[in-house]
């Protein structure tokens, strides 16, 4: 391990003391912050040359690569996607749990298991394909009991999984359990867990989607995933359930291999990278590929440490009992600020009137930039990403609370959305296809749509025919809202702004995004 200066040690000690004395952090949030600060003192990774200049800057001062606070010595993969179906079938030796035999035991076992699934947030980012896991047990009890038990189960999750990067999946096949889950989330109006409905035109009925739309208009979830698109991108081998595909949607909207996950996620800050380029040719042929290369080698090094040195895959019960498999992990090559990059490059050419999302040349430049990144990734070999053909999975990252003038992934900046929703959707059509490990767009919906949920149904059906990947809707007046990918309650942001404790750590991120990301100013559709 490399030496560090006493100056840095003392800076970190000051930060730790601030955490201890914080008036707004809960105990759990303090513990997590202390651990991250301790980790920040470690220097065990062989960092690629040039990384320091691109990584260790403020975002307003030209930061080009961001590692999303994963720490200096990764002790576990960032996102873990356990094979819960195996757990339901076999139980766990480590947890001393036999396979559940009824709904009571199934829910209890899952709640226990969740407390043992690590992640970058220390909370499970994936809580299972819940309709498939629970449906067999739901058949054995009357509907009222099932509803009550599942409602308690969801309340328990919201109050103990203190982070809304936690994600449940349902669909594409409608089930009794799936219907109950939709009704329950609509009633509870809680932020946790996030929920995605996988939608397959051949399998998912209008009634099931409409039930989802109605829940979403109350509580901003579920989101809707283009199932055939995701299913075709993830190699066969292990499925989350009947017709569920070999992938899951975890964290914000991340498509990940089932029974594995993602080692790591770093992101390119494209707007800042564009500022370094002389013009679009310089950007596309030299500057961007160079930054991609440094970020990819940084990610490879993080993965190497995790796989070869951390001991996680040898010692954690999830791996030892086969709930996860090392060879089902990949890594997410993220990006933000495509809109800003395009606008910066056009401004350099004196075309500041042509804006991303509104102008054909601007959108075409966006596509060209994405092709450069896709081609880079296709040529870069990453040793431990066998599940995705030895390459990373591209990811349109949703941004973090401290981002300023950085639009998530390939989104059109808030405040610049096209007047017509149809024009907006047609821009997205160019970009969703690149991101197997996730992208998504969010639409606040006018109240009148409560009377016509079929309107949203038609947009979902149409969008998936047009190869859009993932869409979220919420009612312009609801308390639970989608920040960038995760959910937060407006009422909780208000509490935090009044310096009261709030249980979910994501509320603070939502508060930052409200101020820096203008997320309450999205165009209502």
């Amino acid at each position: 391990m490399r030496e560090i200066t006493m100056e840095r040690v003392n800076e970190t000690r000051e930060k730790m003391l601030d955490v201890v004395k914080s008036r707004t952090l809960t105990h759990e949030q303090k513990v997590a912050n202390m651990a991250n600060l301790a980790d920040s003192l470690l220097e065990v990774l062989e960092l690629p040359e040039g990384l320091d200049d691109l990584l260790n800057r403020d975002i307003t001062e030209g930061q080009c690569i961001c590692d999303l606070c994963e720490g200096h010595a990764p002790l576990r993969p960032r996102y873990i996607v356990p094979d819960y179906a195996k757990f339901m079938k076999e139980g766990s030796k480590f947890l001393e749990l036999p396979p559940p035999s009824d709904l009571y035991e199934a829910l209890n076992s899952l709640l226990i298991f969740y407390k043992h699934v690590p992640s970058v947030t220390n909370f499970p980012v994936y809580v299972g394909q819940l309709d498939q896991l629970l449906d067999p047990f739901v058949q054995d009890v009357d509907e009222e009991t099932a509803h009550k038990l599942i409602k308690l189960f969801f309340t328990h999750m919201d109050r103990t999984i203190l982070d809304s990067f936690s994600h449940a999946n349902i669909g594409p096949v409608p089930t009794k359990a799936g219907e109950i889950i939709l009704d329950v989330v609509g009633e509870l109006e809680d932020a946790v867990p996030n929920l995605t409905m996988k939608v397959d035109p051949a399998l998912t009925t209008d009634d099931f989607i409409l039930r989802g739309v109605k829940a979403a208009l109350h509580t901003a979830k579920p989101s809707f995933a283009n199932h055939p698109m995701f299913a075709s991108e993830f190699a066969e081998g292990l499925s989350a359930g009947t017709d569920c595909g070999n992938y899951v949607i975890a964290s914000c909207y991340n498509g990940l291999p089932y029974g594995g996950g993602s080692y790591t996620l770093s992101r390119l800050i494209l707007g800042n990278i564009a500022k370094r380029a002389e013009n679009r040719e310089d950007f596309c042929t030299k500057i961007l590929p160079e930054v991609c290369d440094i970020m990819a080698r940084y990610m490879d090094e993080r993965i190497r440490f995790m796989v070869e040195e951390s001991g996680f895959f040898e010692n954690n019960f999830l791996a030892k009992e086969g709930f996860i498999r090392r060879d089902r992990f990949s890594a997410m090559f993220g990006l933000v600020g495509l809109a800003e990059a395009v606008n910066v490059l056009l401004e350099k050419e004196g075309k500041s009137g042509q804006r991303f999302g509104h102008d054909e040349e601007a959108n075409a430049l966006g596509v060209r930039i994405m092709d450069v990144i896709r081609d880079f990734n296709a040529a870069h070999e990453s040793k431990y990403c066998e599940i995705s053909g030895g390459h990373f999975l591209l990811h349109a990252q949703v941004g973090i609370a401290s981002d300023i003038d950085v639009s998530p992934g390939t989104r059109i900046p808030i405040g610049e959305e096209p007047v017509e929703l149809h024009d907006h959707l047609q821009v997205l059509q160019h970009f969703h296809k690149y991101f197997a490990s996730g992208t998504g767009d969010i639409f606040p919906i006018d109240l009148t749509v409560h009377r016509n949920p079929d309107y949203v149904l038609d947009i979902i059906r149409g969008a998936f025919k047009e190869n859009l990947r993932y869409l979220s809707f919420y009612s312009a007046d609801s308390d639970v809202i989608r920040i960038t990918g995760y959910l937060v309650k407006r009422s909780e942001i208000d509490k935090l702004e009044a310096e009261q404790n709030v249980k979910h750590d994501t509320t603070a991120l939502g508060m930052g995004a409200k101020h820096n990301g203008k997320i309450l100013e999205r165009k209502v559709r």
Partner: protein, 280 residues
Amino acid sequence: MGAAPVNRIIRFSSVDGPGNRSVVFLQGCNMNCRYCHNPETRALCIHCGDCVDGCPTGALSFADGEVRYDHSKCVFCDACIKTCTHDASPRIRHLTPEETFAEIVKQRPYIRGVTVSGGECTLYPDYLTELFSLCQKAGLHTLLDSNGTLDFSAYPELLKVTDGVMLDVKSWEASVHKAVTDLDNGDVLRALSFLASQGKLNEIRTVVVPGLVDAERTVREAARSVAPFLDKAPVRYKIIAFRPMGVREAYRAYETPDGAALNALADIARAEGMTDVVVV
């Protein structure tokens, strides 16, 4: 095939029938409803030219005794509408059914259907027949928004390509109807029962204006006359509160009814056998 004056086309609408639909608004109306919410769709332009100078983008010009409109320059600021003293609009495009269809079909696959509204769209029955045949061939659901003055029984070809009509029933009492619209309601009531009997009635709409309209009787009688035909096709009864937004200055003083009064009307419709009743 002849063109019709198109006021505007809304690409996505959540409030003009089931699901997401494109809506075509045609210009011109044969009624003069006191509470009309879009009076600028009532009349055709007389080319007086009053609006031309006020256009901030040069979308309007005057040549050969006519107001000319350039759709590509228009920013929809409504300055011309506010200037016009004839309940008209210079922003009219005369589109053939084929041209109209070409603008609608771009929205596929996001829309399930098209609604033609107005003005009074049935002033152009041949245009509608042609437009809707194109839409139906493309798998789009077709709805008309009408005041019921057309004798639908005389247009079997139009009815064949129309999936449903959303019909305004403004007043059951003829004298009240005349006071509200300048026209008797005989044609409207005939259209109501004819369309219901043919399974072509999609929705009844009654705007509730306290002090102007006999809403209670209108809702009861309209619901009663339609209920026996509900097995032919489901019919929604939409009870709409008067709101002053967009209404001509002289008629803006009417009150907006309260929620309790509207819900009482909904109950009357239900008591007559209507199952799908909404209040907006």
